[in-house]
């Protein structure tokens, strides 16, 4: 025991007491750290027992060094022997096994079993970095414990960016849990402000256990509940589980919302109807969250989650808030809602169903006008009528199912009504869009020329709400067709069809032609020649389109014509998009892209053989990004064809069909569907006179029939050649090209707007 009169102020004495031997490597302590006990020199009022213990241990020459240092460490930091600021005893200091920068990060192992690492951070060591790699995706866990001051921890990616953090206050433990994919990561431990503290870092990463609670087919879809409150489902998709299907039923119409989050690889999601057809999809790239919002009627639906690349967990959240019936429109003619119908489209949203079977709107026109109406956004079957001031039906649109409806009609000045109503027991919201453009000069629609000669200078200008483009000098020669439709006027303003894809459904396209090869659509989501449906659209190696023909060579990506007589499709394509390169000709939309859809071969008698499915070709064009579809052909009518045309219109894809060459009084099929979808095109010669062979417009002013050059049209033929052909087949691509110019100027144009603008801006003939 010490003499209690020991002079504590003698710092040298204190040093003598408390300077214990340094414990070096191999001391048998289980660590390679150097432990040097240290006592701050601000001690005051030392406890005699403390001094006594210390001196004894020192005098014993520290036979057991670890016990000695441990006893020191266990002494309290406060109490009767330590007063003064920031004093502590027995703390390992200057321990720095972890690197202080990313580059010098300490390599550690993170596996399914927890590994632990002890170190120190403080004023002289403000960063401890650890580096680890995962060979496979895993559930990473980190715990930072044993601190005596405030320290925090970050999880960083291989670039040093923070993925997650834990910054609890004081000496509270820190923790991070995260799903990590294979790769390299860093951990950074650091003190909060001026804290100094030991810590224990414990890490582990349990391999992801693929979860498969959802069914892998429609038949085995997992039944889930979708209600007004969000419900969530967690699962996994990847190389060994390529489809997760969920099934739900709505008792009533609702606003359906879906979110797919928490992914560590690229996965996508689709919403399917009860038949398994896709209603909506979300296919964002990378690990971005996906979402779908859709109004759904009562019924059964499916959700499909599938991987685009890699393996990933996901969280699927779904809800469906019941639709709130809206009734702003009047329910009788007398109470019809007054609306404005002008050159700019006005829209009205409402609801019809079992409790609201009629919505009436009333409008007036000051002048004779080209009236256009569209009814869209329906989740059940709704129909529409146009009525005169006496309530008699002028025109109607009654497509089946949820297909959009449309009415176009030339109206004289006066008052009119619109009636929207449900078909049978349907309940649905709807969006009603209306516009009316003054008919301009001439007599408007007539049974020969329809709405007249297409005029790109006016149509493209109207598409962007500008006055008609100024006239420019004609190009002449073989470009007389471009001159006649005023395409150069649009080109002069920079509108050349850039960004627009035009599908040509025909007997193939010579995609290697010198005047076409630079303007052929390329499916950028498909890798050529690997025999894999990379974009999962149902077609393998569909690089430039698809060959829908039957027989040898069909059902493939080979879209080129196969016989000397198969020149038709190449000629059509050139009129639309031949390059402006000083060779041969220039297409109407010379910066658009041609999607080649081969629907037939040609035999030695010039007949089309091995014909494919036209409806399927139309749907392919729509689903793969075409905004315009040219059909210079005649086809048998069918429900499938009509539905495909309706599908295109619902997606704002404009179909352009040749009227036919039989000198008929009205267009043939599919052109005659232009009362509701797309355009019918007749042919004029260089003097703007209707060609003798051209089918006429007919007497129905709802027929969106226009005229374009179709006599001695010079364009591309296979083998880097050119030829002059006549026919409504040659007129239609001029219109397809003008539509491409319009959409290049304003990609947001709807199907109805394109029809309204093109017909109202056409030059009345004769």
């Amino acid at each position: 025991m010490l003499d209690q009169s020991f002079n504590l102020s003698d710092s040298n004495v204190l040093d003598d007491i408390f300077q214990l031997p340094t414990l070096g490597v191999g001391s048998g302590l289980g660590r390679s750290d150097l432990i040097t006990p240290f006592v701050r020199k601000s001690l005051q009022g030392l406890d005699s027992d403390f001094l006594s213990n210390s001196l004894e241990e020192y005098q014993l020459e520290l036979k057991n060094r670890w016990q000695s240092s441990e006893s020191l460490s266990s002494w309290p930091q406060d109490g009767d022997f330590l007063t003064g600021q920031s004093s502590f005893v027995g703390l390992p200091s200057s321990v720095d096994l972890a690197g202080n920068t990313l580059a010098t990060a300490r390599a550690i192992t993170v596996g399914s079993s927890t590994t632990s690492y002890t170190d120190w951070v403080g004023s002289t060591d403000t960063n401890n970095y650890y580096c680890f790699s995962l060979a496979n995706s895993g559930n990473f866990n980190l715990g930072l414990t044993g601190m005596t001051a405030d320290a925090d921890v970050l999880l960083l990616n291989s670039s040093g960016s923070v993925i997650a953090s834990s910054t609890n206050g004081g000496t509270a433990s820190e923790s991070i849990t995260s799903q990590l994919s294979a790769g390299t990561y860093y951990i950074r431990v650091y003190p909060y402000q001026s804290a100094n503290t030991n810590y224990n870092l414990a890490v582990s990463a349990a391999p992801l256990a693929p979860v498969d609670l959802a069914g892998n087919t429609l038949a085995t879809a997992r039944a889930i509940t979708v209600g007004s409150s969000t419900t969530s489902y967690t699962d996994w998709v990847g190389s060994t589980d390529t489809n997760d299907y969920y099934c739900f039923t709505l008792a009533n119409s609702g606003n359906f919302n879906l979110g797919l989050t928490g992914m560590t690889a690229d996965a996508d999601v689709q919403l399917l109807n009860s038949s398994g057809s896709v209603i909506a999809s979300s296919v964002r790239a990378g690990t971005a969250s996906e979402s779908i919002t859709s109004q759904l009627s009562a019924g059964t639906y499916y959700i499909r989650v599938y991987p685009y690349s890699g393996n990933t967990n996901y969280n699927l959240a779904v809800s469906a808030a019941p639709l709130a019936p809206v009734d702003l429109a009047g329910n009788t003619l007398a109470t019809a809602r007054a609306i404005t119908v002008g050159s700019s489209t006005t829209s009205y949203t409402d609801w019809v169903g079992s409790t609201d079977t009629n919505d009436y709107y009333r409008f007036s026109l000051a002048n004779s006008s080209n009236f256009n109406l569209s009814l869209t956004g329906m989740t059940a079957d709704g129909d529409v009528q146009l009525l005169n001031s006496g309530g008699s039906v002028i025109a109607s649109s009654t497509n089946g199912g949820t297909a959009s409806e449309s009415i176009t009609s030339q109206l004289s000045a006066g008052t009119y009504y619109i009636r929207v109503y449900p078909y049978q027991s349907a309940n649905t919201n709807y969006n009603l869009a209306v516009s009316a453009t003054s008919g301009g000069g001439g007599t408007g629609f007539n049974s020969t020329y329809g709405y007249g000669l297409v005029n790109a200078a006016a149509a493209v200008a109207q598409a962007i709400s500008q006055p008609t483009f100024a006239d420019v000098p004609n190009l002449g020669g073989n470009n007389w067709g471009n001159d006649m439709v005023n395409a150069p006027e649009a080109w002069a303003r920079g509108y050349t069809g850039q960004g627009v894809t035009v599908a040509v459904i025909d007997d193939g396209v010579d995609i290697l032609h010198q005047d076409l090869s630079n303007n052929i659509w390329r499916n950028t989501r498909e890798i050529a020649g690997n025999g894999i449906d990379d974009d999962r659209n149902g077609y393998v190696d569909d690089i430039h389109g698809w060959n829908f023909t039957t027989g040898f060579g069909g059902n493939s990506g080979n879209v080129r014509p196969e016989s000397a007589l198969s020149t038709h499709g190449t000629h059509v394509a050139g009129t639309i998009a031949a390059s402006n390169n000083g060779i041969g000709i220039t297409g109407v939309a010379y910066n658009s892209r041609i999607m080649a859809l081969k629907i037939a071969n040609t035999d030695s008698n010039n007949n089309w053989i091995n014909t494919g499915n036209l409806a399927q070709a139309i749907r392919y064009a729509v689903d793969n990004g075409a905004r315009v579809i040219n059909m210079s052909l005649r086809w048998s009518d069918s429900t499938a064809l009509r539905d495909a045309l309706a599908y295109a219109a619902s997606r704002n894809v404009i179909t352009v069909s040749a009227a036919g060459n039989s000198s008929g009084s009205s267009p043939g099929t599919p052109a005659y569907y232009a009362t509701q979808y797309g355009f019918s095109v007749g042919a004029v010669d260089s003097s703007r006179t209707i060609a003798s062979f051209s089918n006429r417009a007919g007497t129905n002013s709802s027929m969106q029939h226009v005229m374009a050059p179709g006599v001695n049209v010079y364009s591309t033929v296979p083998g880097n050649g050119y030829a002059s052909y006549s026919g409504t087949s040659m007129a239609a691509p001029h219109v397809a090209g003008v539509v491409a110019l319009m959409l290049g100027a304003n990609p947001n144009l709807t199907h109805a707007q394109v029809r309204s603008i093109l017909t109202s801006s056409a030059v009345r003939l004769p």
């Binding site: 005047d515 007589l565 060779i583 089309w608 005649r634 086809w635 050649g721 030829a723 002059s724 087949s729």
Partner: protein, 180 residues
């Protein structure tokens, strides 16, 4: 030109295009009647079938005309009119000829310095012309005009390339009265 015909194991006969010379080798007497018949038949063929080419290279072609509604269709009630074979004169020019449109008057064409020859197609529209290697322009005559509806990017009429040992097959199709 000679065409070598191999008959049997021991006999080879050589024919000239105009049958002007026959070389005999050893012939077994029991084959004589058969060989004589073969000689007669082959000689007849060489004079009657223009496509029986004893030549090494040239252009073989067919003249056709399309007319009426030729719009592609699968409507079985209106099959398109079949191509009509044309018996006419084929005019052959060397090299490229700047196009005069689809129709070029005979009066002008016959003065062109690149005119090489004229041949006739048969009732099936078929023709054959032997030509040295090179580039040629062929047009079919319709009354007082030569017609060709095929052009190059530089505005010339479409041409045909003849290469050594090759016979190029082409179709010259008149689409003036056809509507597609």
């Amino acid at each position: 030109m000679l065409k070598k015909v191999s008959v049997g194991f021991c006999t080879r006969l050589f024919f000239s295009q105009n049958n002007s010379q026959i070389a005999k080798t050893m012939i077994y007497p029991n084959f004589r009647w058969f060989l004589s018949l073969t000689i007669i038949l082959v000689t007849m063929m060489s004079f009657t079938d223009p496509n029986f080419s004893q030549s090494k290279q040239g252009i073989s072609g067919t003249i056709l005309r399309l007319s009426g509604d030729q719009m592609p269709t699968i409507d079985t009630t209106s099959l398109r009119t079949k191509p009509e074979p044309i018996k006419t004169t084929v005019w052959i020019f060397s090299g490229r000829i700047p196009a005069q449109g689809t129709n070029w008057s005979v009066a002008q064409a016959q003065k062109h310095p690149h005119l090489i020859k004229q041949i006739s197609s048969d009732s099936q529209g078929n023709f054959f012309v032997e030509l040295p290697s090179g580039e040629y322009t062929l047009l079919a005559q319709y009354d007082d005009n030569l017609y060709l509806n095929n052009f190059l990017g530089d505005g010339s009429y479409g041409t045909v390339q003849v290469t050594n040992g090759q016979i190029v097959n082409i179709q010259l199709i008149n689409t003036e009265k056809a509507y597609f």
